[in-house]
């Protein structure tokens, strides 16, 4: 289940920011901001993606790098929110 979610997150970032379907272009722990994959507005789009496509509401205080700055961080954050719901 988490693996599907991880692939869904990775596919979204690959398609919208790296414009490829090659999974090797993005490591699961790569920093999205640090590698220049997304900028500030891109991060806002990722939050919209999490809320609208993955169905998880992101609170203000949850908008931190530890929850959002890599595929694995996003996956873990979304999975834990779903579990808590």
């Amino acid at each position: 289940m988490t693996d599907d979610l991880r692939e869904q997150v990775r596919a979204f970032i690959l398609e919208n920011y790296l414009f490829t379907s090659d999974p090797d272009a993005l490591g699961l722990d790569d920093s999205l901001l640090g590698r220049g994959i997304v900028d500030s507005t891109g991060m806002l789009e990722i939050i919209f993606f999490i809320e609208e496509q993955l169905g998880v509401k992101v609170k203000d205080e949850e908008m931190i790098p530890d929850n959002l700055d890599s595929v694995n961080k996003i996956t873990n954050f979304v999975a834990s929110k779903r579990q808590a719901a």
Partner: protein
């Protein structure tokens, strides 16, 4: 006469050496630390030896190390080429080559470090890697790379070149804005005066230093002996607001998209921002509802709406916050020492209410475009800077911006040349022709749209085009929308009608 930047930094360091100059992540540099680190950079450069006016590239994110290197280059008699850290190595190498830089100081963790090093080597440009330590050991680390010998700074003349800022240009013709020591001094002094900056101020900076607005925020704070707190980005707006609260920030500067991001999901009232005494906004018109939200959520802060361009060092006009309501939509009046007029195409000054090209003169107007007398001649004529912006004045002399005469797309606060994007896309096999235009974007003001006519039998898809653009252009230059068409709209004389592409 305004004080040159090096002297201003020395004065701030002499007045209160222990005062905090820069805060970045987990490190704080005092004025004494900064002046000492800059003098070490000057020494390393002077040992090379370096000719007066030598261009030295800087490719670093905002950090105290960037500031030390910037002042260190000036102190060694050189001129900085502050590079856009979002650009790709190929573009950066072209700009370095065009500038004639002999050395580039690069953050060794920058994503483009390796490709840039290779390209620089091919062009005989030396690369000096620097580590951007962000904890309490950052100064020791910097000293380990630059040594501990300090070099006395060489005094500069006002007309000497201090920096080159590359603005958007085409591949074959990078546009390097030449800013003199006198330009920086004059613009810095005028901004410090109207913002009333003083040593107790604590400005929070999210604007890149390689960009004229961020550059001015940096130097004004140092000249005032104030503290500048660097935040890497606004990707996590609530963290920026919390930092403003925790650091008791007194001033914050942004472009419209910065404020859109801050106000987008957060309520400023949820934070104690009572220390914030002013906000500044430049980089394009901010929609009225956003100005109103900002004012209602932060009633204690004075909002300065401003106008300028890189060719004017940074700033040309500002609107007195007390007049914001009465003159909403205006960018105000010229700052001290600057004159502005609105002219028709023949160069005659227009009466109030009539739109024409905005022209400016003053001690902040650039020396010209580096190694491009023809482009310089187009914008610096009869002693005036022809800004390429359209505007009008009202009966009381307040300036309003009505658009741009020159074809440029403003994405966020960045100017993007449609030709540069077209050149990049044209290089892709399978493209017959391409035209680029601006489309409205809620957050950024404008986004880029490309319309491509594929070559017969060519196989192209949107992802492939975007991936190609991302490889060759800074991320903000990648078109948001790409469409394929069988032909492009043209006038009877064959000129592409960009407005019909949107």
């Amino acid at each position: 006469m305004s004080t040159l930047l090096l002297e201003a930094l020395s004065n701030s360091a002499a007045r209160d050496p222990g005062a905090c100059a820069i805060v970045w992540r987990n490190t704080k540099w005092s004025y004494a630390d900064l002046a000492c680190a800059a003098a070490r950079v000057s020494n390393v450069l002077a040992m090379r030896p370096m000719q007066a006016g030598a261009r030295i590239g800087l490719l670093m994110r905002n950090s105290p190390q960037y500031v030390a290197c910037f002042y260190g280059v000036l102190g060694a008699g050189g001129a900085t080429v502050a590079l856009n850290s979002q650009e790709r190595a190929s573009v950066l190498a072209r700009q370095l080559q065009h500038s004639g830089a002999e050395l580039v100081i690069v953050d060794r963790d920058h994503v483009e470090f390796e490709p840039l090093r290779q390209l620089a080597n091919e062009h005989g440009i030396e690369v000096l890697p620097v580590t951007l330590g962000d904890d309490q050991h950052s100064q020791a680390q910097f000293a380990s790379e630059f040594g501990d010998t300090e070099r006395e700074w060489i005094s500069a003349a006002r007309e000497d070149l201090a920096m080159i800022i590359y603005t958007s240009g085409t591949t074959g013709r990078p546009k390097g804005v030449m800013i003199s020591h006198g330009n920086l001094a004059a613009n810095t002094a005028a901004i410090v005066a109207y913002l009333g900056l003083h040593p107790a101020d604590r400005g929070l900076c999210v604007l890149p230093f390689h960009f004229s607005y961020g550059n001015s925020m940096l130097h004004t704070h140092l000249a005032a002996g104030a503290t500048l707190i660097i935040e890497d980005n606004v990707a996590f707006p609530q963290m920026v607001l919390r930092r403003m609260q925790d650091e008791a920030v007194t001033g914050f500067s942004g472009v419209p998209s910065t404020f859109a991001l801050l106000l987008g999901r957060c309520r400023l009232q949820d934070y104690d921002l009572s220390s914030v005494r002013y906000l500044t906004q430049a980089g394009g018109a901010m929609p009225r509802p956003m100005i109103e939200r900002l004012r209602s959520q932060l009633p204690g802060a004075r909002l300065f709406v401003m106008y300028g361009q890189t060719e004017a060092t940074a700033r040309l006009t500002y609107l007195d916050p007390e007049l914001l309501e009465r003159k909403l939509g205006s960018v105000g009046k010229p700052l001290a020492g600057v004159e502005i007029k609105v002219c028709d195409t023949s160069g005659y000054e227009l009466p109030p209410g009539h739109t024409g090209e905005i022209r400016a003169r003053g001690p902040n107007i650039m020396l010209g475009y580096w190694r491009d007398p023809e482009a310089t001649q187009q914008v610096l004529r009869d002693g005036w800077l022809h800004t390429g912006d359209l505007g009008h004045k009202d009966e009381e002399g307040f300036l309003y911006i009505d658009g741009r005469a020159v074809e440029m797309i403003k994405v966020g606060a960045f100017r993007v040349s449609p030709q540069e994007v077209e050149e990049a896309i044209s290089a892709l096999p399978g493209v017959e022709e391409v035209a680029v235009t601006a489309i409205p974007d809620e957050l950024l003001g404008h986004a880029i749209k490309a319309v491509i006519v594929p070559r017969a039998g060519g196989r192209l898809n949107i992802l492939q085009v975007k991936a190609h653009c991302r490889e060759h252009l800074a991320t903000y230059k990648v078109p948001k929308v790409i469409e394929f068409a069988s032909s492009l709209p043209r006038t009877s004389s064959g000129k592409i009608q960009r407005f019909r592409l949107a």
